[in-house]
Amino acid sequence: MKSFDILVVGAGIVGSAVARECALLGWQVGVVSGGTLAGSATAAGMGHVVVMDDSPAQLALTAYSQSLWHQLAAHLPKSAEYEGCGTIWVAADDEDMVQVPAKHALYARFGIETNILSAAQLAHAEPNLRRGLIGGLLVPADGIVYPPAVASYFLAEATRLGAEIFPARAVSAAHGEVRLNTGAVLAADRIVLAVGADCKLLPALPIQRRKGHLAITDRYPGFVRHQLVELGYLKSAHTLTEDSVAFNIQPRQTGQLLIGSSRQYGSTGPEIEPEMLRRMLDRAIEYMPSLDNLSSLRTWTGFRAATPDKLPCIGSASGLSDDATLWLATGFEGLGITNAPGAARLLVAAMTAQTPAIDVTPYLPARMKAQVSMPYA
């Protein structure tokens, strides 16, 4: 039986980041990759690297991860399409605008610089937004990437450092042993489940699939300059049981515009739902009327891995499993691209008994035990 220091199951952006981090330690790393990224959240998602303040723990993790992206940026291949374009949170009304100074102050406490924009400054920064919006908050250090290319880069780095990739599915992973659907059995001191929204290997994980629609346009260079998100986004992201949409648009390096976003529970198939797509695009057009004249090339959906408290599971599986070899890096909902570098570092710190860069208590999987019966409301 082939044996490793660590086996990573799942090679989306999170598993790939973990594999690279472990390979950098000089460990013998095996990666069970599931074959392709098709169907993964990493291939579907938007790739906005964003500091998010929906909870102090989310803010700490996204801010830490953002700082790691800044270090990574110089090393990423061109195909990763890293752009430090910044985010503008757009305020449509007074209710939105009261959030702006509070958000500015909160980010400052985490060392994140932001600039408050007046209506005129917002219109100047993004001329295609509709008139009458009352301001915004610019977060200059946010960025965008093309997630599947980043995942490939992380995996290529791991391989260069000696990691071995198994393009197969794991049918079981426990007690230091991973069985593949090819019949092979691999052994390791530690197993990391980085399986996204697929909980078959550990059904105790209380993760739900949260569907999102996206659309991409033809090339319109310069039409949008920053990632633009409505300040109502958090309301939308946290409307927990109801389907919701929010204005969220991203300029790609090609000049294409990636338009999001929708959030749905209980819709399990990957098909496009015309009504949801319509609502999402109407919301975008409400903020940016001239979008209506552009042509869309493709629409698709993806699934976020949502935990009841909206925070990821990073660390030992203890509490959910009595298997001391089992570790988790999953449940990243809509922030797994942003948080992959931070999560990988924190996990490795925990496995090597190093002091982590930030407090990991809020992300420990053991907390899920108490939440298993918690409704998604």
């Binding site: 033809d218 090339r219 319109y220 090609t254 004249n293 552009l294 042509s295």
Partner: protein, 81 residues
């Protein structure tokens, strides 16, 4: 003799018979339709709205399929994007 109309293609006034498609007008004017992502000139291929090779900026709107549009008097067409 058919009636004619005049439109502007890349800043130049071009006269065409009415009922001419914008794609045909571009061919008459010997203009490339657009440059591909890697800078190669492109021209209409299918002539029936399927291949998207004939896109140009018409009256300020990008990515119009010119094989599906008739010329109108005073129309502007730009292909140097």
């Amino acid at each position: 003799m058919p009636e004619t109309l005049a439109l502007k293609i890349n800043g130049q006034l071009v006269e065409v018979p009415s009922g001419t498609s914008v794609a045909a007008a571009l061919l008459i004017a010997s203009q490339p339709f657009r440059l591909s992502v890697i800078g190669e000139p492109r021209a209409a291929l299918c002539g029936m709205g399927i291949c998207f090779e004939c896109r140009a900026v018409v009256n300020g709107r990008a990515h119009r399929r010119t094989c599906q549009l008739f010329c109108e008097a005073g129309m502007t067409v730009e292909t140097n994007l």
